[in-house]
């Protein structure tokens, strides 16, 4: 019976991830429009965009290989798998037990690796440029990301996400400098990984500055829809991973099927707040030059390392 509960929860979580991710992006865009004094297209616009793209035909370049064609599926699949691992609404995830945070970072890396390959596959200048920039950001962000997550796993004494969430929620609340530093690092990495301002601007196709958009410039139709959707899920997952690691209260425990609605509500509230913060950051900051990105990520790495060191030194 218990395994059935677990399967139900897992299925519910995947459904939530797939369904809510565009809404989160819509929420961020709407807030951003408000903040900049523009009329917004509403919270549901991403759904309409996705539907429109799915109806359109795919235009493929003549020299596109199987890599180009399969990359959207791989990227989407990997991102959804990540969504099955992260305790978004519950810690009782059968898949979550099979993979820890290191595997999670690797799953994201697979998605990115294939997108980057596809970017170079066609042989256009923009695709190659986008891929090389994306890999540069990734090569710097991943160590920082690992450091930040390791810090939390040191605090929790485990690298399994569900276990980490459980440990952090169970005890009394404690001010931990290591957690605070890891959170700061995580925010910086999240911004870089999901391609937000000031690292990348998701809303522009300006050739000199774009990173992620340059890489997927050649995609169209359902391929583009999958990649866009995967991107939305990724943003959603980073937000909920941050929430799960640093403010995990409200996430359902083992076998608590009935916690799921509560968890969804609390998730909505928390992500709503995350969205507001994200918009505040994006409207206040200007995009930085690409040469400054390594420094930005260097700061993230230092913060994460300091977090780890202060765990040893101060706790």
């Amino acid at each position: 019976m218990r395994i059935v509960y677990s399967l139900i929860i897992e299925a519910a979580q995947i459904a939530v991830v797939l369904a809510v991710a565009p809404a989160f992006v819509g929420w961020v865009r709407m807030l951003k429009c408000r903040a900049q004094g523009r009329a917004s297209a509403g919270i549901l616009q991403p759904y309409r965009d996705l539907r429109r793209l799915f109806y359109k035909d795919v235009v493929l370049a003549g020299n596109a290989s199987w890599i180009f064609r399969s990359a959207p599926y791989v990227a989407f699949g990997a991102t959804v798998l990540a969504g099955a691992i992260i305790p978004v609404i519950s810690t009782d995830l059968p898949l979550g037990l099979t993979a820890d945070v290191i595997a999670l970072v690797a799953v994201f890396a697979i998605a990115r690796f294939f997108t980057a390959l596809a970017g170079m596959d066609i042989g256009t200048a923009f695709g190659g440029m986008g891929s090389s920039r994306e890999m540069m950001v990734a090569s710097l962000a991943e160590p920082a990301m690992l450091m930040s997550v390791f810090t939390i796993s040191l605090v929790a004494g485990s690298t399994t996400l569900s276990e980490m969430v459980r440990v952090i929620t169970s005890g009394q609340f404690v001010f931990r400098p290591s957690m605070a530093l890891a959170l700061m690092a995580f925010v910086l990495i999240g911004i870089a990984e999901t391609g937000r301002i000031p690292v990348d601007n998701p809303a522009t196709h300006l050739e000199l500055t774009m990173i992620h958009e340059a890489m997927v410039l050649e995609y169209s139709g359902r391929h583009l829809a999958l990649i866009e959707w995967a991107g939305m899920i990724k943003l959603f997952l980073f937000a909920s991973l941050g929430v799960a690691l640093f403010v995990p209260w409200g996430i359902g425990g083992p076998h608590e099927v009935f916690m799921v609605p509560v968890a969804v509500v609390s998730l909505a509230i928390k992500l709503g707040i995350v969205g507001v913060c994200l918009v505040l950051v994006e409207t206040r900051l200007a995009k930085m030059r690409i040469f400054q990105v390594p420094e930005f990520l260097g700061v993230a790495f230092i913060l994460a390392t300091l977090g780890m060191l202060s765990f040893f030194m101060l706790e």
Binding site: F175, P177, L306, S310, M313, L314
Partner: protein, 221 residues
């Protein structure tokens, strides 16, 4: 406020002090450095006051107030006025690039952790774990002095180093005896006036505050 909470707040403040040290290490603008330095002083003062409250040592309030007055208001203000009057170029130039400096900084933190390990084991104070941070702040202050080219930034590094020393005194022993703390504060104040005078001297004799102009005195003249 319970002792446990005080320890937590104190260690968060220690982390913030360490963070501001790193901030000073990577900051490119002089005004940014000044602001960070003032913040560091504020954290230090708050930490001293909290330790004074939990340990019931009232002389720590005096040193907290001294820190607040000197390090948060007086010295940043003096430096601000000097920078403004002398029209110093606002960019900070560094001799070593920033990522390398940061890595050296991390190494220094680890080094201080190991250096202070025996003391941490001997101490019974609630603040004992912050001593490593204090020594790291001292070391990073030194690093700032070594890697920066301007007289002003060297002074900021020097003052950050001094902050580390105050922090060390609080965390290792709940502060030095009051006579000593007052004397140290007086010395720092005098030093502040002296470097103020110095800036004018350097300005008039070198026409800039770049230390690279001040490399005439070498062995092979």
């Amino acid at each position: 406020m319970t002792a446990g909470l005080a320890v937590q707040i104190n260690s968060v403040l220690a982390a913030l002090i360490l963070l501001t040290s790193f901030g000073l290490l990577v900051q490119r603008r002089i005004y940014g450095m000044l602001r960070l330095f003032a913040w560091q002083g504020a954290f230090l003062s708050l930490s001293t006051a909290i330790v004074g409250y939990t340990a019931g040592l009232h002389h720590l309030y005096i040193s907290a107030a001294l820190t607040l007055a000197l390090k948060v208001f007086a010295l940043p203000y003096i430096l601000y006025v000097l920078i403004h009057r002398l029209e110093i170029k606002r960019d900070v130039e560094e001799l070593v690039n920033i990522p390398t400096t940061m890595l050296i900084g991390i190494a220094l933190v680890i080094f201080s952790y190991y250096l202070t390990a025996p003391i941490r084991e001997l101490s019974t104070l609630i603040t004992r774990s912050t001593l490593a941070v204090a020594l790291a702040t001292v070391m990073i202050g030194l690093l700032i002095m070594i890697t920066r080219r301007k007289a002003v930034t060297q002074i900021i590094g020097f003052l950050a180093l001094e902050n580390g020393l105050f922090f060390a005194a609080t965390s290792a022993t709940y502060g030095m005896p009051l006579v000593v703390e007052l004397g140290v504060a007086l010395d720092i104040l005098i030093a502040a006036f002296i470097f103020g005078i110095f800036f004018y001297h350097i300005r008039t004799s070198f026409d800039s505050l770049e230390l690279k102009d001040m490399e005439k005195l070498k062995e092979d003249e």
